[in-house]
Homo-oligomer: 483 residues x 3
């Protein structure tokens, strides 16, 4: 009767009563100490702004806050409600889907502020990191990599393991981002490369190392019910609607943000139609599959992560969304089962099809669009502005930029695969409280789950009553006859 | 035992495995071609902005993106989560409610960018349409008309039919909008006329043509359950909260947006109280009806669609909300049943009471407020600014403007009724895969619906077990006695 | 079989068919009259803005609308979806949770515009109140106090009582706010004192007066089910995500809003980790409790309500969140049961732990941070700017300011306790239609609740069928034997 099966041999110890609080406390205290040493307000969020304004002859509305805060809040919703609810589709892992997403994002963003600060905005004269609204957006972005990885691991790992995944995920993210954006001088505002390709392959590599041959023992829980699919649609829609903000949140003020939002909006619309088309074609009777609608409709947004701020043109955006909707839906239909059967790779949410492949494609699309850029389309100043051809990179040509963009994509994939493999091996130590194979996808392992007495409607109680009555009658009959 | 009844004669063919993908692919490819020919970035989203800025002596913050993007995102949420989740109230049509809403909005916004572009912003020298953030808002608005129509048809049509409804709906919208806004020079920022009155009557006319005399065969599914009502409240609240953004999204910079938001906020608050009052009065014991709370509370926002940007005064807004909450709730109580019984008009979501009537009222309220405008209230410049009395219309008086506003309302209703009737007849061809009467309101027709094993709690399995046991006992008894 | 028990003696009369509509109509009409007499658009939302712009040499983007509207919409979502869905966690009171929240917020914000207007922005020459976007934010804030109080009363009061709670709650709020912000010249942008401490103690005092000794008669309904916990997480997450907007919505333009958002973002992240740690430590097996995750994770935001706009430093924010997550979770574990057992205080949502205590702490944290302010950190102009040391208060020192902040906290608590006790006694009159003890936490008292036929899956119908069959057989057996 109990959901946690005890019949398949010795149970794993899933008690995290010591390890989870210990990890939370130690890491949170470390954050406090490191924030105390390193993190300060930047000039736009410091009380000295009133002086700065006068000195630099700017007004309040030119504070970066007003350029980016609405987009920041949209990104924030994507991270916590979007990713969180997208992972509630399993019938009995909705608490874990949204709850652990909440936990690791809340930890990850703190660690991200530090890691990204050290790599990108450490002031070497004062030794401090100065943060503002753009830092918050970047911290949310940085978490996204680890949340994507969680999608591949959903239901199969403990919260302690997820904290480890996030600690290393954020660290690796900051390093690859430094290499790609600073050393290779790539543009990747919406993170096709640094977020999606990295996060997707990071999660897949971990899941590959943690392969569970007997996972079908919890097959009964690895699926959705009607209402859990509806909760997942909340996640899907908030991701879909706010993706234009995701891709435009940290692009250049003015045309950069404007264009990135338009391109992403258009690409996403196109993805929806091709997803529906392929989903309907693939099923008997042309019925649509919620898994496709919940995921593949987002592929256009992922694939526009790099190119959205470029002059890809509106119809170029449509084509990207068109192709990625098809590719992603095919992924759910054929590649995920193939990976599970032949590559021993269990990918609960199908992040391969939603993040890894569209992210990689997005990186290469960005490379092509960058290589094709010229002054007739961008104007001379526009070209410098969009690709930041200044300082050490003043003489870089669009063609060269395209090559570096492609190289950046490869770097992100390599970081994901190698980093994920290493983290996967760390997670194999039998100390993390992960569930047994027959215990996966079940909230009862890590959550106090309420009794569902409401699912016993009155008529059932009546049935029970009648059954007992018959039982008595039958038994009396039986005894009469026996005698 | 299966939900799709097979007992009422020959089943209709609801297989859309060919038609749905075909429509999606053909229309999406057409969009790509047309976007390639016509659609370009406008000067504020083009990489030339850096040059434009210098030439016109403006700064980044004066890019229209920063005036309108937050409102755009709110409108976007209303279209996809607001309308989508509002239509999830049916117990077994939640996938169709939110999923088909997603599909047709994603298609509609692309077609709207083209249609509205041709009518409103085609540059005749270059033959191109230049788009920016305001185009995106208008495209979302244009979809709203067809989504409202979907509300009347919910559960009774196939996704292919909905694509047809949207294709024609967007087309008709663009034409009536051109007539009302450009030729008649009406003001209708929040679309009481062009969106709500048009969309409502468009849907009602289609539904009237598609009347199903035997719809009561699926009566068991035409209602809500506890949790589906909660999902619908998500839609209601996001519509209610963001309606101030809807009505202010494309009004004038500065006071126009500011005033429209305030007026809508106030009117909506007032609608809630009168809706609750009438709902409570109408039921035995004063119990509230979720249908009213989910819908009639929004009537104030619909009815302020035209007048929100005018100087209607805060108490004027309160009065509008007060009356429309009452009228809309009465509509759900008396008019919808009346329409169904005597006019053969089946209106699943009651769009008559939420969109058609409040939209029409909103048009006439706008006419009255416009006619009453004078310089003492608006100032001379304010009057010109609010009503755009410039160019060909420089000499128009407020009184005349009021007359044209009223005429515009009639145009929108006429377009809705005539256009809807024509589209309804097109949809009667037996090629669209619509469901049979006993098959309506059922997701199983067009969706892969997960098995709901979770609704069988352990105690039931126990019951089954006991029943079988008794069966054996009873049967053994019976056989004993037989012998 | 019916949920509303009739077995425990004479039922209370919960019929609100006269009283609820009467209250709604009378109060809404009163609002229309008072708005007509008092409320007008301010200069930034009036059609004269076009003249004002020229006179004051400002541009449209400097309209306060663009500084505050995105934050306003976030706050609006917190009030209606955040508070509303947070209160849907009960298995059979979700309609009441989100629906009555909707009703009282919609009434409260109208009354708040008047009350706050009279106290804060009444123009004594014209006798009018001029409203703009900041007024709307303040009105939403003012409602929040009463919505917090509703959390303590959830499931135990009638909608008519809630309207009374809100009428007095908003009135008391405006008075205490006037004393704290204007007379004592405290800073409290996010309302730790004026909103959370006041609202929490107001609700607790009412609940204490309305103590129900036999509330355990409805114990079966005072808990969650799986899906209701998921709905509550929607509320939690929207509150959590948008709290930076809550605390920054009405702070100073520029650095004030920027810094408040950063501090709140950081504090909230820290709360999540310590909440998870304590929740896991407290349960056998280290399992997490949804009650803690839904509530205590928000404590950091409450506690930063006063200090968020000060130079509390990022690590200071982390420490606040760290401590409040712990304190709040301990509250749910130990203090709420203690209050119920020994102080006869029934607090359905645990507002004591989420609002009252963190709000009070937030007030004192604000006092300490204010007292510690100096020119080296803020700059001379910054100090004047942040604490508004101008006019009558030009000579106030930070130390004095700290003292006044602490005094303000005490004022808010006193208002909450005394006001709540008085309102509680008013609510004891037997005319308000409140439910009997065995009828609490049940939507069937005030709502038309749909039949849940969907929870009877096909297999059950089969069972019923079999049972009847057996019954016949058994009975025939029985009769045979009888004969």
């Amino acid at each position: 009767m109990t959901r946690a099966g005890n019949f398949f041999g010795p149970q794993k110890n899933t008690n995290v009563r010591v390890s989870l609080p210990a990890v939370c406390f130690v890491w949170q205290i470390a954050m406090i100490v490191l924030f105390g040493v390193f993190i300060r307000y930047d000039e736009e969020s410091d009380a000295h702004w009133v002086v700065y304004k006068k000195d630099h002859n700017v007004t309040d509305i030119e504070n970066d806050f007003y350029f980016r805060y609405p987009s920041f809040q949209d990104v924030h919703v994507m991270i916590f409600v979007g990713f969180g609810f997208l992972m509630t589709f399993l019938k009995r892992y909705s608490f874990g889907g949204v709850g652990f997403n909440f936990l690791i994002a809340a930890f990850g963003l703190q660690w991200a502020l530090l890691m990204q600060g050290w790599f990108h905005s450490l002031d070497h004269t004062t030794g401090k990191i100065y943060i503002g609204v753009e830092s918050l957006i970047n911290a949310d972005f940085c978490c996204a990599g680890s949340l994507i990885a969680y999608g591949a691991l959903l239901g199969k790992v403990s919260p302690v393991q997820l904290m480890v995944v996030t600690l290393f995920g954020v660290t690796l993210f900051a390093v690859e981002e430094y290499i790609i954006l600073d050393l290779l001088h790539c543009r990747d505002a919406g993170g096709s490369m640094v977020i999606h390709a990295f996060g997707g392959y990071y999660g897949l590599a971990i899941s590959w190392v943690l392969y569970r041959p007997n996972l079908n023992q919890s097959k009964r829980l690895n699926g959705s019910v009607y209402h859990s699919d509806m909760f997942a649609m909340i996640g899907t829609l908030f991701l879909w609607m706010f993706w234009p903000s995701f891709n435009s949140a940290i692009t250049d003020h003015g045309d950069g943000q404007h264009r990135a939002a338009i391109n992403t909006y258009i690409a996403l619309a196109s993805s929806v139609l091709t997803t529906v088309a392929i989903s309907s074609m693939s099923q008997k009777g042309g019925k649509l599959d919620m898994v496709h609608i919940q995921n593949a409709t987002l592929a256009g947004g992922v694939a526009m992560g790099t190119a959205a701020e470029f002059m890809i043109t509106p119809y170029g955006s449509l084509i990207v969304g068109f192709c990625c909707g098809i590719i992603s839906t095919f992924g759910y239909l054929f590649i995920t089962p193939f990976l599970e059967k032949y590559l021993k790779l269990q990918d609960t949410c199908g992040v391969h099809n939603l993040h890894a492949v569209p992210g990689m494609l997005g990186g290469f699309i960005g490379a092509i669009v960058a290589a094709a850029a010229d002054e007739s389309v961008y104007s001379k100043e526009g070209l410098i502005n969009v690709f930041d051809f200044e300082g050490d990179f003043a003489n870089r040509s669009p063609g060269t930029q395209g090559g570096f963009q492609a190289a950046g994509t490869c770097v992100s994939i390599a970081f994901g695969l190698v980093g994920g493999a290493i983290v996967g091996f760390i997670l194999k130590f039998p100390i993390w409280g992960d569930p047994a194979d027959d215990n996966c996808f079940d909230d009862e392992v890590y959550w106090e789950v309420p009794e569902d007495e409401e699912t016993i409607p009155p008529v059932l109680e009546y049935n029970n009553h009648m059954i007992h009555k018959h039982q008595e009658i039958s038994e009396s009959n039986f005894s009469v006859e026996q005698s």
